[in-house]
Point group: C2
Chain length 356, copies 2
């Protein structure tokens, strides 16, 4: 039976990407060798890395003066690398607290100096994105998290500021257009819209680096990786390859503008049903609702097992909510087809009929 | 044509591992979902992580009191994490310099405090393993690199010392028996004998941690990963899975004692030919020659293109030497069959005949 994969991440990838990736594990680039048993310095793999970088540049219209890196360690290691590279000794940074991941990034930054948390939505279990705050002009940078997978809220706009902007876009990069020139640094774990777990994308403006006055260990210094073109040490070959395939799939289908429309349609369908169906309610503020993760609760908790049975029978997978919110979370990343959202919406309607 | 894959790393993996890995990219654990599009906290993947850890424990007879971690960032990030976690503030560490990788680890350690390089083989282009040196008893730890892939030398024994021993075993772990209880910390990038690039194995004695007196960023603190069972953040799912398959393959075939015998046979065959054949000479000291990487030079450089043509025609791949040594390097990791070494030896003999 076809599975409708609403997993919050690692998440659904396009079927053709999976087919190609599976094939490359046996025979890559007609070498009669597996992708994962050749040198990362071979012509065939260097071409993969270069292609992945150029697809990022093209899809996000990355301006000149920015480097594109594929690293390891996920957003969690970026929480450390960002202050190491950008917070001056004795300087300070501004952070926006929009949930679990923002919180973790704040905790790491505090090891390096003063952190000004400009606003927090913790008071309302992160169900909204704070908007009225001031970014101190003497901050070395302002850090925000564009999408919150756990609470299902997303920044629809970024603040206008002269302070250097840094954004963790792990869960919505490549899902909609973004003006890279507004940011000095963007990072994202691959495992939502880009590829499998194990690679981290970093897009960084070269001129902001080398100014923190800190002695940065080689692996943690973005300049190390820039100077070696993401080949300072053996890169995560398979995750980078599958990321390249996924970005190529995105480009072939129409790029970021195309997927933004598709994602808008999926989110509209989903939220319309959540708002219309008297048996469910959304958890996030309407204006801040995430196009990637729709969180909703059943009105009657007692009827939950019945609904659970229905969606499972329809082949739906991965919609259990995170323990911090409960209920359900439908993650609708790039590769999730509209058809899967229709299936879920149909089950919600059917549930309403059986209960009515 | 069958390829004889002598790549220095990422390197050859067992064909049945590649077949299973390729299959799991399409349908993992009969879920009708790919391994790389499910939650790392799903029952199916948690079982993979636990199995990988227990196979390491079993294959290396890891004693109680040691934790087994699968991290990211390769040995290069371990070069940073080791002093961060083990070198006390104001303390010092002892390092043995046996080549490129040892050198890089020394460079990173120096950022954290005093480093006593107890011996170096740099004077002879790292063609031997230094043996007469004293490890200062007040060092927080002694760090060594068990095998040098570039120069083809390997530590056949480790010094007896009361100082805490740390070893980078990236290129020979699981290739021969080792007494884990001699070490407080062992680390290894996966991409030689364990699996694909993108996972790093760490085996650490719990009681040595938490004593450096340093405020360690979460990702860089081994205790973080121990407390979360290598699931502090999304692990590199595919590299961990393929490592698990490779370790299972090793166990099914007879474990580390078995592969040690196979590796000894392969190395004997290879070095016997290098020593016997008047057209070649080995580059490493005989007693320190690596069972993993055999480096050798042609006696007459002019005849190199002729030899190159012959081995390429025989389906041999990846034996070009590293630029620091030149000539050839036959890497004979666990998954390389004896037959491939025979093929290379036959080509060397044939080359001798045609030149004679």
């Amino acid at each position: 039976m076809k599975v409708h994969n609403f997993s919050a991440g690692p998440c659904i990838l396009p079927p053709e990407v999976l087919r190609k990736a599976s094939g490359a594990v046996i025979n890559f680039d007609d070498l009669n060798l597996s992708l994962i048993e050749i040198s990362h310095r071979s012509k065939s793999f260097v071409a993969v890395m270069e292609r992945a970088q150029s697809l990022v540049r093209e899809l996000l219209k990355v301006p000149e003066g920015y480097s594109i890196l594929f690293l390891q360690g996920g957003a969690s290691l970026e929480f450390v690398m960002v202050p190491y590279n950008l917070m001056k000794k004795g300087g300070k940074a501004a952070y926006l607290d929009t949930g679990t991941w923002a919180n973790k990034s704040i905790k790491e930054a505090k090891r390096f100096g003063e952190v000004d948390v400009v606003a927090s939505a913790k008071d309302a279990n992160y169900s909204y994105i704070p908007k009225d705050y001031t970014i101190p002009s003497d901050a070395n940078y302002f850090h925000c998290t564009s999408n919150n997978t756990i609470f299902g809220v997303q920044m629809k706009a970024f603040p206008k500021t002269d302070v250097s902007m840094v954004c963790d876009m792990s869960s919505d990069i490549f899902s909609k257009r973004v003006d890279v020139s507004d940011f000095d640094l963007i990072y994202a774990g691959a495992q939502k819209n880009m590829g499998p777990a194990g690679a981290t994308l970093v897009i960084v403006k070269d001129e902001v680096l080398g100014k923190s006055g800190r002695d940065i260990p080689a692996y943690l210094d973005y300049q190390t990786h820039i100077s070696k073109d993401s080949m300072f040490n053996t890169p995560p070959v398979f995750p980078v390859y599958v990321s390249m395939l996924t970005l190529q799939w995105l480009k072939d289908n129409g790029g970021v503008s195309w997927i933004e429309q598709v994602n808008n349609k999926k989110a509209e369908l989903m939220y319309n049903e959540i708002d219309r169906n008297p048996l469910f309610k959304g958890t996030a503020e309407v204006e801040d609702r995430s196009n990637m993760n729709a969180c909703f609760l059943p009105i009657e908790e007692a009827s939950q097992p019945e609904f659970d049975k229905m969606w499972k029978e329809a082949g739906i997978s991965g919609i259990n909510g995170h323990r911090s919110v409960g209920g359900y979370r439908a993650s609708m990343y790039n590769a999730l087809p509209l058809e899967s959202v229709r299936t879920l919406v149909d089950v919600m309607k059917e549930f309403e009929r059986t209960k009515g």
